[in-house]
């Protein structure tokens, strides 16, 4: 009798685990206008320029799913370093058995984490996303070359970060989703570069007014498609 009860419990647990371990994919897909962004390929913003991206990395943190206004799932210790050119890092998972209408996450690292000392995994300072001369994570890194930049090797470098006011660069992104299938979040780098005016601004390397302004435009680069 006891044995039967035990087996029954075991079956329930296995089914439960199976149901809840089903995962859907959430894919970050970098684009240049409508094309998939590839490293070291030249793209055109306008007739006169040509632009290539050599590095595109950013932190996605505090991933949440919402149904209407209600949070229905929240990822624990949610910190992901996304390298747009490394396919292993661009896919995140969300549980598939939950109904949701909105995805919420942050681009960057919150201020509490920024003042909490050395951390491991994607937050390890060896990942190249931590400033050394002044404490703080780089939330978003975009580097490349363009004939518009009158710099050495025509380089541009945008390292956006800063956790203290008035230079807090953390961005919260809300994305409406319609279907429950695997969601792809397209990120159009061209939109960001059109905003920048590369001929005038070609680098940001510290928490500043410029970093806050440009960070505010990151949310506008997102659009959704479904697999």
């Amino acid at each position: 009798m006891v044995m039967r009860k035990f087996i029954w419990m075991f079956c329930v647990l296995v089914t439960h685990n199976f149901l809840f371990s089903q995962q859907d994919k959430l894919v970050f897909h970098p684009t240049f206008f409508n094309q998939t962004l590839k490293p070291e390929v030249y793209y055109k913003l306008n007739a006169k320029d040509s632009i290539q991206i050599t590095s595109f990395k950013f932190y996605v943190s505090q991933l949440e799913l919402l149904n209407g206004r209600e949070t229905v799932w929240k990822e624990q210790s949610s910190f992901h370093l996304i390298d747009a050119f490394d396919e292993k890092t661009i896919v995140l998972s969300v549980p598939s058995n939950i109904t949701f209408t909105k995805i919420k996450f942050q681009i960057g690292i919150d201020s509490l984490t920024n003042v909490s000392g050395a951390m491991g995994g994607d937050l390890d300072p060896t990942k190249g996303m931590y400033w050394t001369w002044q404490s703080g994570y780089i939330n978003f890194k975009l580097e490349g070359n363009s004939n518009l930049c009158k710099t050495r090797h025509n380089e541009f470098q945008f390292h956006l970060g800063g956790y203290q006011q008035p230079f807090n660069c953390l961005q919260t992104v809300f994305v409406q989703v319609k279907s429950k299938a695997n969601v792809t979040l397209n990120m159009d780098v061209a939109k960001l570069l059109l905003y920048i005016q590369l001929s005038e601004l070609n680098h940001i390397m510290s928490p500043s007014k410029e970093a806050v302004e440009l960070s505010g435009k990151i949310t506008e680069t997102f659009s959704v498609s479904y697999e």
């Binding site: 920024n114 003042v115 909490s116 000392g117 050395a118 951390m119 491991g120 937050l123 390890d124 300072p125 060896t126 990942k127 190249g128 931590y130 050394t132 001369w133 002044q134 404490s135 703080g136 203290q164 230079f167 500043s208």
Partner: protein, 336 residues
């Protein structure tokens, strides 16, 4: 029955021994405030402190494997760099500031003269990466350590894992720095009622409390904040101090208030090491203050000290020398 009691007593003793062993690694001195550093997130162990000590004294942290933390933070001079106003690093390159003395770091919340660093764990990254200091990258340091048999063993002992990470490297260095506690000067023994000030030291202590203690607050002898102490600007450096970090004009010319503990050994003084002697410093505070918008409140009114007062005050400052700290074998170069 007796056997049971015996086992219980042995277990109690073992537990006590364990408690004593862990307490001795990092002990908050009596009547001191609670440390700012949260050691629950990085619990101190003998093995981690030892790893941190090896790293602190190892030039492997620099690009050319020649400069260690101790190059600019020597244990016998209160972990600072004497004889140089501006400290020098890799390839004899000269920096823009005087290396700060290292002690009682668990009680600070911001590090560096301008507070650029927000946590002790992250402090070591700055000198490791600075082109004029160690000129290295933490990524390369981790690779070098990973390829070293010595460090594989030490990381295994400390973390139960031979894989070296940036997090573990930095936290081990923190652990060693946390153990650098100076609380055994003559001043401390007087406070603990184990000895007495001489009459001159006592007069000096009164003068200290009257003129210096608002910024160099006991028992750390710093309030750990930032102040403009009225130094004339050195036009070869044009260092704006804290404002470099906050970009706030109200922080212009403010620098971190340094501790006065072990001041006898931590010369030269000020962020740019401009004063070689304590008497130069006292001369500045009595007759050299430059008034500007951000000048510290406590320096708005002139400080008047007779030459006798200056001698008394200096005599008191020398009671802050802590030989137990300066010559502690646990802090010095690890023996092979």
């Amino acid at each position: 029955m007796n056997k049971k009691w015996g086992i219980a007593i042995i277990m109690c003793l073992a537990l006590c021994a364990f408690n004593i062993a862990t307490e001795h690694i990092f002990e908050v001195p009596k009547n001191w405030p609670k440390p700012t550093y949260n050691s629950n997130k990085n619990p101190l162990t003998k093995e981690k402190v030892e790893l941190g000590r090896e790293l602190f004294y190892d030039p492997i942290l620099s690009k050319n494997n020649l400069i260690s933390c101790a190059s600019c933070h020597s244990p016998y001079t209160a972990f600072t760099h004497v004889d140089h106003d501006l400290s020098h690093g890799i390839d004899d390159r000269i920096g823009t500031r005087n290396s700060p003395a290292l002690m009682n770091l668990a009680w600070h919340h911001l590090y560096m003269w301008d507070g650029a660093i927000n946590h002790l764990d992250m402090q070591a990254l700055a000198p490791i990466s600075h082109p004029d200091e160690m000129g290295e990258k933490i990524e390369s340091v981790v690779l070098k350590l990973q390829h070293s048999k010595k460090y594989s063993k030490l990381f295994l002992k400390a973390y139960g894992d031979t894989v070296v990470t940036g997090e573990h490297t930095l936290k081990a260095i923190s652990q060693f720095m946390l153990t650098l506690i100076s609380a055994n000067s003559k001043y401390d023994s007087v406070m603990r009622k184990q000895s007495h000030f001489t009459e001159q030291e006592s007069k000096g202590y009164q003068l200290f409390k009257q003129h210096c203690a608002s910024c160099h607050t006991e028992p750390l002898f710093t309030h750990t904040g930032f102040e403009n102490n009225g130094l004339p600007i050195d036009s070869t450096l044009n260092d704006i101090g804290r404002m470099r970090i906050t970009k706030n004009p109200q922080d212009s010319l403010k620098f971190k208030v340094p501790t006065l503990r072990n001041i006898e050994f931590s010369f030269p003084y000020m962020h740019d090491g401009r004063f070689k002697k304590i008497s130069d410093v006292l001369k500045h505070y009595t007759s050299g203050i430059v008034h500007s918008k951000t000048l510290a409140k406590s320096l708005q009114q002139p400080i008047l000290l007779s030459s006798n007062d200056k001698v008394d005050l200096t005599t008191f400052l020398l009671t802050l020398t802590d030989k137990v700290f300066l010559f502690n074998p646990k802090h010095s170069f690890p023996k092979k």
